[in-house]
């Protein structure tokens, strides 16, 4: 399998895991994929189907390829977490520079205005601040990932 496909698959697996999807089938002219995580349930399957129907031809839900009409996907925990979304289009980085430690990690307490990440746009590094105070529950975007306006970056449990 070539590098591109492998990369696509990794992104797909990340996406499925991040959104708590347990089972996923897809068939394209160039690729057929069946993924099943331990503990599959009917509810997860329904969510996967809902996401699939939003896309035109079974595209991998990578960078904004299709705007899914489904409601914002929540994490596996049922509680309503606050999502910090990107205010700009660009590339997400979780640390100030390659190799340096991430700005924040799950479990960290953050304040309003605290820098969570960088979104790079047109060679400018834009520091993205938290709009709530609370605990970082999860980092939704991955370093190096292209993000669009409104794309969820972090889930925070407000205090």
């Amino acid at each position: 399998m070539d590098q591109d496909k492998l990369e696509e698959l990794r992104e797909l697996v990340d996406f499925l895991k991040a959104n708590g999807i347990a089972e996923f089938d897809m068939e394209r002219t160039d690729l057929k994929v069946r993924i099943k995580f331990a503990g599959a349930s009917a509810a997860d399957l329904a969510l996967a189907q809902q996401l699939m129907s939003g896309s035109g031809g079974g595209n991998i839900p990578s960078l904004g390829s299709t705007p899914a009409p489904a409601a914002p996907v929540e994490t596996v925990a049922e509680e309503k977490l606050h999502q910090v979304t990107s205010p700009i289009v660009g590339t997400f980085y979780d640390s100030p520079s390659p190799g340096s430690p991430a700005f924040v990690k799950p479990g960290d307490q953050v304040d309003v205005g605290q820098i969570l990440c960088i979104v790079e746009a047109m060679k400018l590094m834009n520091e993205i601040e938290s709009d709530v105070a609370g605990e970082v529950v999860k980092r939704i975007a991955s370093t190096g990932q292209p993000v669009e306006y409104g794309q969820p970056l972090f889930a925070i449990r407000p205090r």
Partner: protein, 474 residues
């Protein structure tokens, strides 16, 4: 040829460009605001990136957002459509600096032809007739009389320091000029603190005639003939047609040649339209140039058989015009376009909302360019154009009849549209006879007003005086 193109626009023109790209095997990237999440141009693009909230200034007009989207999607080129950023020379420059091909003219040319006075100078040098103007302040009545004598009446006196109709007078003879000169000057002094005036030739009943050009990036230019766009309401075009009944083959050929030479000298690239006014004697005068593809490009496509958007893509990819247009340009038959707006057909108030029924006409010689659909929502943030209905026929008569048939089968429910207005225009004797100018719609509304019965719906409810009763206790 480009591998991937980003379309920096929305609505029907975004879909138009996406369609041309698809036919050419070019991958497409749509950008959209949150209000356009369920748009057709988003759905039919290969990739789509949300670039901002509903307001245009924060999304479609947001240059960093558009460029950033182009970068992360790794596109080769950007097609700007019409409106929005299409004539923004700064945007074209940022594209160039970012190594993204802007599908249009070079920024310097956009700037030059977009600026009214430099455009006029450029055309004047190229011997393209321009609307005579004094190009400077007319200091005295004597100067004014002199200038008016050389140019010919009627003329317009205009305030140099401001606009909006103040300090403006139309003068139709030498006899009335001195008095009007004084009036205009005092009014200007009062409104702008400056009584200086300049003068322009005034055309009473002008016809709006524009010429379409295509230029490659190797110095070759072709005129694709004219369109007539005289049916306008408040300077907004409602109906366009090609060819114009007023343009003879001789004028088409001669003006075409002149324009081709001029655009070559200017170093123009890609698609452009040169707008003229024609006076009652058939003389034409340059008014301005649009350095982009236009809404009404479709009527030219129907009569010439040339796909203009594909031509734009191919030109920007470096192809020569001779490879793109392989036969002499000919005009076949007659085409008319009606702009269908989401507006009340009489009050012209914008009508945003959900479309509950949407049936498009089809059949021989009927084309609809639209990005709307049943259950689609017309958002309140953008212009009101929701569809273009274009009909082609062997002659104007057939095109008109076809349009009437197509309008009668164009069903839109849930919002108001200007379809009923177009239907009335196509029944109008003056329109059918081709006897019109840019004042047509004013006269048309007057005729419509006279036709309305006493029993007709009253659109104007007079204000009832408020009666206050009761005593005020101290």
């Amino acid at each position: 040829m480009f591998r991937k193109v980003l379309i920096a626009n929305r609505g029907e023109i975004a879909l138009r460009v996406i369609s041309a790209c698809r036919e050419m095997g070019i991958r497409t990237v749509a950008v959209y605001s949150e209000a356009d999440r369920n748009s057709l141009h988003v759905r039919f693009a290969d990739e789509a990136i949300c670039i901002g909230p509903p307001k245009s200034s924060e999304s479609y007009l947001n240059v960093p957002a558009v460029i950033s989207a182009a970068e992360i999607a790794d596109v080769d080129a950007i097609h700007p459509g019409y409106g929005l950023l299409s004539e923004n020379a700064n945007f074209a420059e940022v594209c160039r600096a970012s190594n993204i091909k802007f599908i249009g003219p070079p920024p310097e040319v956009t700037r030059m032809m977009g600026e009214k006075s430099t455009a006029r100078q450029t055309m004047k040098k190229a011997k393209v007739p321009i609307l005579p103007g004094s190009d400077g302040v007319i200091a005295t009545e004597a100067e004014a009389l002199e200038w008016a004598k050389t140019v010919g009446y009627p003329v317009m006196l205009k305030a140099a320091a401001g606009g909006g109709g103040r300090g403006m007078r139309i003068c139709r003879s030498a006899a009335e000029l001195p008095a009007l000169f004084q009036q205009a000057s005092s009014e200007a002094a009062g409104a702008f603190g400056n009584g200086d005036l300049y003068m322009e030739k005034f055309i009473e009943r002008p016809r709006h005639i524009e010429f379409q050009v295509l230029a490659d990036e190797h110095g070759n230019v072709l005129s694709l003939g004219e369109r007539e766009c005289s049916i306008q309401r408040r300077h907004q075009k409602l109906i366009e047609e090609a060819p114009s009944l007023m343009v003879t083959p001789k004028l088409r050929a001669e003006l075409g040649q002149t324009i081709q030479r001029c655009m070559k000298d200017v170093g123009y690239w890609n698609a452009g339209t040169i707008e003229f006014l024609m006076d009652e004697d058939g003389k034409i005068y340059f008014i301005e140039m649009n350095t982009r593809i236009q809404v009404e490009h479709c009527v030219t496509e129907m009569v010439t058989g040339i796909d203009m958007v594909k031509a734009q893509l191919r030109i920007a990819a470096g192809e020569k015009l001779s490879e793109i247009i392989t036969k002499p340009v000919t005009v076949t038959g007659h085409a008319i376009e009606c702009r269908i707006n989401a507006e009340h057909p009489e009050k012209f108030t914008p009508s945003a909302g959900k479309i509950t029924a949407f049936n498009l006409p089809g059949g021989m010689g009927v084309r609809v360019d639209t990005a709307q659909y049943a259950e689609g929502v017309v958002p309140p943030y953008y212009d009101s154009l929701i569809a273009k209905l274009i009909c082609h026929g062997q002659d104007r008569e057939e095109a008109m009849n076809r349009m009437q048939r197509a309008l009668s089968q164009f069903v839109v429910q849930g919002i108001h549209t200007t379809i009923p207005l177009h239907q009335k225009i196509f029944e109008d004797a003056e329109f059918r006879a081709g006897k019109f100018d840019t004042k047509f719609m004013e006269r048309f509304f007057e005729r419509q007003g006279h036709k309305a019965d006493a029993t007709a719906e009253d659109h104007f409810s007079p204000m009832q005086p408020i009666r206050l009763s009761g005593t005020i206790h101290g």
